[in-house]
C-alpha cells in the first residue's frame, strides 16, 4: 500500500514540478535568462487565484483563470521592467549583463515576495480545489484535486509539445533556443519572440502556481524554495533542455517523496541536494544538457 501511495503522490508532485521547471528552462533556452523571480511568480498566481475565488467572488474556475492571468502579466512585466532594460542597456558591459539579469530577477522576486507578504500576509493560502472530495485510486484514498493536478500538468505538457512541434510559432521558439542569430538573419524580430516566450513562461508558471496552491497551499515564504526547486530540476535535467527538465522533475519529485515516506518528511529535500552536488561533479551539463 505504501508503494502505491508513493507512486501516486510522487507522480502528482513530479508533474507539478515538471510544468514549473519547463517554463524556467524554456526562458533560459530561448533568451539565456535564469529567472530567479520564478518562485515569486508562482506564488503570485496562487495568491491571486485564492483572492479571486474568495474576496473577488470569481469562484474556483474564475479564480484559477485570474491567477494564471496575473502570472502572465507579472511575467511580461518582469521581462519589460527588469530583464529587457538590462539586456539593452549600453551602460552595462555585454559580459556583465547575465549577472545583472540574475541579480535583477533575484531582487525583483524579493520585491514581489515582500509585496505579497505586505498585502496578503505571509500566512499560507490555499486555492479552492477545482474538484473537491476524494476517490479511491488502486485502493489509495486520493484527493480528486491531486488527480486533476497530474492530469492538467500532463495536458499542458502535451499542448506544449504540440505547440513546439506542430505550429510555426513553436518552431520559431525552438529555432530561437538553438540559433537566435540565424533567426535574426532570417528577418525574425527577437523582441517579439522574447515577448511570446515570456508570455508562455507566465502561463506555465501560473498554471503550476495555481495547481500547487490547490494541492498543497503556498505562502510568500515559499518563494525561495520554489525557485531553488526549479533551479535544481533544470540543472539536473540540463539547462535549456525541456525533456531533461521533465526527467529531472520526476527524479526530484520521486526522490523527495520516497525520502519523506521511508526516512522522514523533515529531510525530504536533502537527498535531492546531494544528488545535485553529484551531478555537478560527474556530469555538469546535466542529464540531457548540451555543452
Amino acid at each position: 500500500m505504501q508503494f502505491l501511495q508513493i507512486l501516486i503522490d510522487g507522480f502528482a508532485i513530479s508533474s507539478l514540478y515538471g510544468i514549473g521547471a519547463i517554463g524556467f528552462t524554456l526562458i533560459f533556452g530561448v533568451s539565456g535568462v535564469l529567472n530567479l523571480s520564478h518562485g515569486a511568480i508562482m506564488v503570485m498566481a496562487a495568491v491571486a487565484a485564492w483572492a479571486g475565488a474568495g474576496d473577488l467572488g470569481f469562484g474556483p474556475y474564475g479564480g484559477a483563470a485570474f491567477g494564471v492571468t496575473v502570472a502572465v502579466l507579472t511575467s511580461l512585466v518582469t521581462y519589460g521592467l527588469v530583464v529587457r532594460p538590462i539586456q539593452t542597456s549600453t551602460r552595462i558591459a555585454r559580459e556583465e549583463r547575465e549577472i545583472f539579469v540574475l541579480t535583477g530577477t533575484l531582487l525583483w522576486g524579493i520585491m514581489l515576495q515582500e509585496a505579497i507578504a505586505y498585502f496578503f500576509t505571509s500566512n499560507p493560502k490555499t486555492v479552492l480545489p477545482l474538484i473537491p472530495g476524494v476517490v479511491s485510486l488502486i485502493g489509495v484514498r486520493t484527493p480528486a484535486q491531486e488527480i486533476l493536478t497530474a492530469a492538467v500538468a500532463w495536458a499542458v505538457i502535451g499542448l506544449l509539445w504540440l505547440l513546439v512541434n506542430r505550429t510555426k510559432t513553436g518552431r520559431v521558439l525552438l529555432a530561437a533556443s538553438i540559433n537566435p542569430r540565424g533567426l535574426t538573419l532570417l528577418g525574425f524580430e527577437m523582441s517579439t519572440i522574447y515577448f511570446y516566450v515570456w508570455a508562455l513562461y507566465g502561463l506555465l508558471a501560473g498554471i503550476a502556481g495555481v495547481l500547487l496552491g490547490a494541492f498543497l497551499g503556498v505562502s510568500s515564504d515559499n518563494v525561495g524554495q520554489l525557485t531553488a526547486s526549479a533551479f535544481s530540476i533544470v540543472v539536473l535535467g540540463g539547462l535549456g533542455s525541456v525533456g531533461g527538465s521533465l526527467i529531472g522533475a520526476y527524479v526530484v519529485g520521486y526522490l523527495e517523496t520516497v525520502t519523506a515516506y521511508l526516512i522522514a518528511p523533515s529531510i525530504r529535500t536533502i537527498p535531492v541536494l546531494l544528488l545535485l552536488v553529484l551531478v555537478v561533479y560527474v556530469r555538469p551539463q546535466g542529464l540531457l544538457g548540451r555543452r
Partner: protein, 409 residues
Amino acid sequence: MKLSPVRALLAAAFGLGVTAPAFAADPIKIAVIAEASSISGAAIPNAAKLAADEINAAGGVNGRMIQIVDYDDHNSAADAVRAFQRAKNEDHAVAVIASYVSEVVLALEPWSGRLQLPMITPGAASDDISHRVHADYDHLKYTFHGYLASTFLSDSVCDGLKTIAIEQMHAKTAVVMSEDAAWTIPLDAEYLKCVPKVGLQVLDHIRLSPDTTDFTPVFNKIEALKPDLIVTGISHVGVQPTVQWHDQQVPIPMVGVASQATSSTFYKDTNGAAEGVIYQTVSAPDVAVTPKTIPFTKAYEKRFGITPAYCGYTTYDEVYYIADAIKRAGSTDADKLVAALEKTSWDGTIGKVEFYGRDSDFTHAIKVSPEYIGGLLVQWQSGKQVTVWPTNVANAKMTFPAFIKLPAK
C-alpha cells in the same frame, strides 16, 4: 528625530550622543517588535496601538501619553536584535513587547539584560525564556514571559483532553504531532508525560520540519497507526496541514496547540478546511473569560476587520500592565519598572496576570491556574470559533466533518 530648540541646545551643550532628559510632557515610548506580515505577528502592534490609544484617551500615565514604536523583525532574530538596540539607543523606549517566536525572544533575552531594557513576550512559549531568568536573575531579570510557557500549554491541553477526549469522544489512543522548534521541545516533553496520565496511550511522537509543505506522508504514517486523536503542537505551520488533513479526509480529529487557528482569518485562509479543528487558547472571541475580553475583541475587530490572534490579547494586557507598573513605580527607570512588574496583579482580557517569583523555575512567567489564567479549547464550527471546553463556559458541543471517524463507545 526632530529636536526641539531646547533639546537641540542641550545636545549642543553636552555633545551629540548624550541623552536629553525626559520632560514631563514627553511621551512614554513602548517598543513593539514583531513580524508584521504574519497574522499572529501583526496582532501584536495592532493590539498595542489599541491599548495605547485607550490609555491616552483616558489621560495617559501621570499625564504622559503612551507612544508605540513599531518595528518589523521579519521573523529574523538578527533584525529583532537590531530593532531592540535601536529601541533603547535611538528611540529611548522604556519597555519592549517582543515577538511570538521563541527563537527570536531567546535571542533578545541577553540584550534585554545587557541594555537593561524590560521586555515582555506576548506569544513565545519556550520554557527556556523563564528558566534562563531563574538561572541568571541578576542579569536577565528584565525579561518577562507574558504568555503561557510550553509546559503550561501542554498541561492546559491535557486538562481539556480529560473531558473532551476521554469522556466525550471515548478516545483511547493518540499520536503527538509537533513542529520542530524551540517552543515544542518542552511542549512535547510535557505532552509525553501528561497525555498518558489522562488515559490516552501515545502511539507515536512525530516532529515535523516547519518548512514542510506536503504533509501527506505524515498523515499516512499517523493513519496507519489508527489513533483516535492527533494531539498537535503547531504554530509556524497551520494552514497547510489543516487543508491537507481536510482534502485527504484524514479520519482522525486534531486537538491541541495550533496558533494560526486562533485568528479569524484561518477559516478563509484554509477555504473552510479548518472545520472541526480544536485548538487551545487563553481567550476566545465568544467567551467572556473576564469582563474585558469581549469589549477588547469587538474593539479590535471594529478597527482591524478581524478578530485578534492569541498574542493580540496578551499584548493588549501587557501595554496596560506596563502602564500600571510605571504608575506604581512613579518612574520609567528600568530597575524600578522591573520591581513594579514583578508585583503586577492585573485583571486583563486573559485572566488575572501575575508573575512567578525568583524562587520558581519559571521566574517571570505568568501564573497558570484556574484562579489566574486557565485555558480554553475552541473549535472551528461553520466558520466560527466556539468554545467547547471548559464545560462551565463552553457554548457549543463538539461536532466534526463527516470524514472524521470517532471511536466507538
